[in-house]
Amino acid sequence: MSDISRRKFLQTTSASALLLFSGLGRESQAASVQSYPSKKIGNIKNLKVNEPLAFNYPDNNSPCVLVNVGKEASGGIGQGKSVVSFSTRCTHMGCPLTYNNGRLVCKCHYSMFDVSRNGQTYQGLASQWVAQVVLRLDAATGNIYAEGVEGLIYGRIGNLKLS
């Protein structure tokens, strides 16, 4: 990697690094039982279109984003099936992804992922589509739960296999 790209990354990750310490303590144990934890990550009533919400899942070391894209999206929940969630580790080489207007963009090598199309790489270098978080909506309360991840989180041999 060129030095400049690495430097650039260090600048851009400081925000997400803060997030690493904000999750629940229990999840790291989930790795040993090999099943995804259920985690409340937000409430559908508070989600505004194109205003992403950052959280960590399935453990504190895995930044994700929850977003209402304002139109039907593959794997979406809610009335318009428009609420989706993805890992924000770029599946190319792990840089942080930025949500913007229906897509996740990586400024390291410019991969772009379409969040309403299953996180497919519609431009750029990432040969693996970005990992999508499985969501459940509690209709009564509007609470949204993360309950699994489809696809591999970058930098892991298994999504739940960190020691």
């Binding site: 990354f9 772009m112 270098l125 591999l152």
Partner: protein, 855 residues
């Protein structure tokens, strides 16, 4: 809910997993990869594994180690056992440093598996019968094609056998297969009707540079990080040679290579962030990524189609007027006799500068101001009088332009005029599409019209009724040849005539009776016996009589060079080919040896001799045999220019296996004093590759408008749009592998068209609609993307796609000097499609692929 099958865990190779080095099978960048193979049921651990990486920790960002879902597969070997296969980018390669693209990142998914997406690989020779293809033995296949070739040559002459075969490295596989094909067709058959993969003739695409004394691969990846200015001319690096862009051009634009510059440059010489000049009618992703890095260091010129050589000459004239050249260099290194011709015809010194530039503006559509700025970025000395260092790379936008020869020559000359070759941070040549691996006996046509050419047009020959046998190897001309609709129609008719004749009374299965009936058909019809040699069935193979199954990447030992460093490496065999598939060299050797036996039985020693020398047993023997073609490579460093660009004489497979991802740069020379082998980093520091070592100038043609094949459309309102083509980031060539990989096909499901919003609104077209693109040559249905990549009046289409080809629209024009087609320009009409939209629209992304902004 996922559109594709996903994994959330990957198998771990144990420490003792088999390990091989290879190079990506795709683009000119030639990224290094490591391959791991281990029994399916065995596993390493997070702490102890063949990657020697602690997998119990979250992997670091940009660590250079990546192992993702698309980098793993499960294969079955001939022994019937299943094995894990992991193909991961090599961190230790100085080409990619662990980086990889969306194409190479799926190398593992292309491996043959008996039940997966590649299960329809060709496994046995197939013969066309009444109701389709049936499997036959290699013995029968070889007997049929060898006997037919021999008898056809005996009765109708060598030219009755025509061929269209790849000649390159990477996906085509390299030196070994090319030497096999060369021995068979050039020494054995000796037909004049040879052609190279997609194009209609057997030629170099850059005779305009080579005949000046400058091979097109003369630079190193380091030069892209050292250059003050990079020029990409008709060369979409971010989407076509991706890792070369992200690892070598991008860091330079970001200022990440300034320290390297300081080390390499003269003392006191300015070393700043790089600049880039992009000359392309399209605002492609290379342009917008570069602009995102630093808009003020990007200059984007958008010439009218076909006019680039006029622009190159205009930039040269501006450099000349400003004295941005080194007279001493010109005198010592270039041929001042031919320079007079260049001055009068290319620089047109008899014309005033303002008249000259006014004409250039009118022809190219590029303003004088832009020309002056570009010329300064390319040639104006830096502060302190230091020569600027400019690396100029062109590719298909130039090569497959109108007037191929003059386009290439004009750019080569601009760079030599400004001494932008042979110094660190300079160079002038191809960006490349695929990798290279050419070693063949001498071709029947050595050069352009100025050097014994032009070569014969094989498309015109076979579509016009010429030839009896047409042998197509690892190329799919029904999609990829220019004017492909006409080509397909004509070849299909000839193939059908032959089949109908054979079918009358039944197609015999006894090879002798079959051969006799084909020979009868040769007499009585103008039928064409087409042989397709490939790894899958192709569009063209629909009309083949015989299909021969070839081994692919990783299924044989091969060697190739990349384009940006001429780096020779081994592409080791890590798995078995499916069924009875064989490496191309072996197929051609089997047929060659059989023809030799037939001539020997006839007592025809002369012809038997032509087909001898193909008795190789191993890939390594073929490689060593091919090396003899390069002649004596004892040379000092200063004499490197006389060596053939791809010379690897003295190098063996074993040596390359030891060198692994490090490889060695061709031309390889043997030091006269020590006998040791040395690679060549950068070319033409001392002399050029002409007899007297001087660069040979050439006076280019004046602008005379468009050729008849295009001129017919100019004032015709039915075809109002200029039309150009290119490639997509995602898929490789005709998508022979990619159409089988669901993620790829979902993202690029159909041929597509890019159109400017102004034009789209006139046609009531929106992104996601389908459009009919048409002209008198043919038509193609395409998915529409409305974006600002094209200009008003210009539309762009993907060159070809598994589901349709835009080459249906391209004309049959070729440059009379070289027989290279103008793939990249014609005129078309566009209409909204009124049929039902393809289901693919529901899963494809419709976002704009040249917009990277996040604010």
């Amino acid at each position: 809910m996922s559109l594709t099958k996903r994994k959330d865990t990957l198998p771990i190779p144990p420490v003792d997993a088999e390990r091989y080095t290879t190079v990506c099978q795709y683009c000119s960048a030639g990224c290094g990869y490591n391959v791991f193979v281990w029994p399916e049921k065995r596993s390493g651990t997070a702490k102890s594994n063949a990657f020697h990486v602690d997998l119990s920790k979250q992997g670091d960002i940009m660590s250079g180690f990546s192992y993702t879902e698309t980098m793993h597969n499960v294969i079955t070997r001939k022994n019937g056992n299943r094995y894990n296969l992991a193909i991961i980018p090599a961190k230790e390669s100085r080409i990619n440093k662990g980086d990889y693209s969306i194409r190479g990142g799926t190398n593992a998914l292309t491996a043959y598996t008996p039940t997966g997406v590649t299960k329809d690989r060709l496994k046995y020779p197939l013969l066309r019968k009444e109701n389709g293809f049936v499997a036959i033995s290699w013995d029968h296949a070889v007997e049929i094609i060898a006997t037919l070739t021999k008898k056809s040559m005996d009765k109708y002459g060598a030219d009755s056998v025509a061929m269209k075969f790849y000649d390159h490295g990477s996906s085509g596989l390299g030196f070994e297969d090319n030497w096999g094909a060369g021995k068979f067709f050039l020494t054995g058959v000796k037909t004049q009707y040879l052609s190279i993969h997609n194009r209609p003739a057997y030629n170099s695409e850059v005779w305009g540079s080579r005949e000046r004394g400058m091979h097109e691969l003369n630079y190193d990846v380091d030069d892209a990080r050292l250059a003050d200015t990079i020029v990409l001319w008709g060369a979409n690096a971010y989407e076509g040679a991706t890792i070369f862009y992200t690892e070598h051009i991008m860091p330079n634009l970001q200022g990440g290579s300034i320290d390297e510059k300081k080390r390499e440059f003269a003392s006191g010489e300015p070393a700043d962030e790089g600049r880039i000049v992009i000359i392309d009618p399209r605002k492609n992703a290379t342009t917008t990524v570069s602009q995102d890095i630093s808009a003020e260091r990007v200059l984007h010129l958008r010439p009218n189609l076909g006019t680039d050589w006029i622009l190159a000459n205009a930039l040269a004239r501006i450099a000349w007027e400003n004295k941005w050249y080194d007279n001493d260099y010109l005198q010592k290194r270039t041929d001042m006799k031919t320079f007079e011709d260049y001055k009068s015809k290319s620089l047109e010194l008899a014309k005033s500068l303002s008249a000259f530039l006014a004409d250039a503006e009118k022809i190219t559509g590029v303003s004088r101001k832009e020309m002056e700025e570009a010329a300064a970025w390319i040639a104006k000395p830096k502060a302190g009088g230091f020569k600027r260092r400019t690396l100029t790379l062109y590719e298909k936008g130039i090569i497959w332009n109108m007037k191929n020869y003059d386009q290439v020559a004009a750019i080569a000359q601009l760079n030599v005029l400004t001494h932008n070759v042979g110094r660190p941070g300079t160079g002038c040549g191809r960006l490349g599409g695929h990798q290279e691996g050419y070693v063949r006996p001498g071709a029947p046509t050595p050069g352009s019209i100025y050097a014994g050419g032009p070569p014969k047009n094989v498309d015109k020959y076979v579509t016009g009724g010429g030839g009896k046998i047409y042998w197509v190897g690892a190329t799919d001309p029904y999609l990829s040849t220019p004017n492909s609709k006409f080509f397909k129609k004509s070849v299909k008719k000839r193939a059908t005539d032959l089949l109908d004749y054979l079918d009358n009374g039944g197609i015999p299965s006894d090879p002798k009776a079959y051969i006799a009936k084909v020979l009868e058909a040769f007499e009585k019809t103008d039928g064409l016996f087409m042989v397709v040699q490939d790894i899958y069935k192709t569009h063209t193979s629909e009309d083949a009589m015989l299909i021969l199954p070839a081994a692919g990447w990783g299924e044989a030992v091969d060697t190739s060079i990349n384009c940006h460093s001429r780096l020779l490496r081994i592409y080791d065999k890590f798995m078995d080919a499916p069924g009875e598939a064989l490496p191309d060299w072996k197929i051609l050797a089997l047929v060659g040896n059989k023809i030799k036996a037939l001539y020997t039985a006839d007592g025809n020693k002369e012809m038997a001799a032509r087909f001898s020398g193909m008795e190789w047993k191993t890939d390594a023997e073929v490689f060593a045999d091919g090396a003899q073609e390069f002649g004596d490579n004892r040379a000092t460093e200063a004499e490197e220019a006389r060596l053939s660009a791809e010379c690897y004489k003295g190098v063996t497979h074993e040596m390359l296996r030891k060198l692994g991802n490090e490889g060695i740069q061709t031309p390889v020379r043997q030091d006269p004093a020590t006998g040791k082998l040395f690679g060549t980093k950068r070319r033409y520091q001392h002399t050029f590759a002409s007899k007297d070592g001087l660069f040979k100038w050439y006076g280019t043609d004046a602008w005379t408008g468009y050729p008849a094949e295009i001129a017919k459309y100019l004032d015709n309102p039915t075809y109002p749009y200029w039309f150009t083509t290119g490639r997509s980031q995602h898929v490789w060539q005709t998508m022979y592998h990619d159409k089988r990989i669901p993620e790829k096909l979902m993202t690029v499901p159909l041929p597509y068209l890019e159109i400017h919003p102004d034009d789209a609104s006139k046609l009531s077209l929106n992104t996601g609609d389908m459009a009919e693109v048409f002209n008198e040559e043919g038509s193609c249905l395409a998915l529409v993307y409305v974006n600002d990549a094209t200009k008003p009046g210009l539309v762009f289409g993907i060159m070809f796609h598994a589901k349709g080809t835009m080459n249906n629209l391209t004309s049959s024009y070729t440059d009379p000097k070289t027989t290279i087609p103008w793939y990249k320009g014609t005129k078309v009409g566009v209409k909204k499609y009124y049929g039902k939209l393809d289901d693919a629209i529901k899963t494809v992304s419709l976002l704009s692929n040249n917009d990277f902004r996040t604010q």
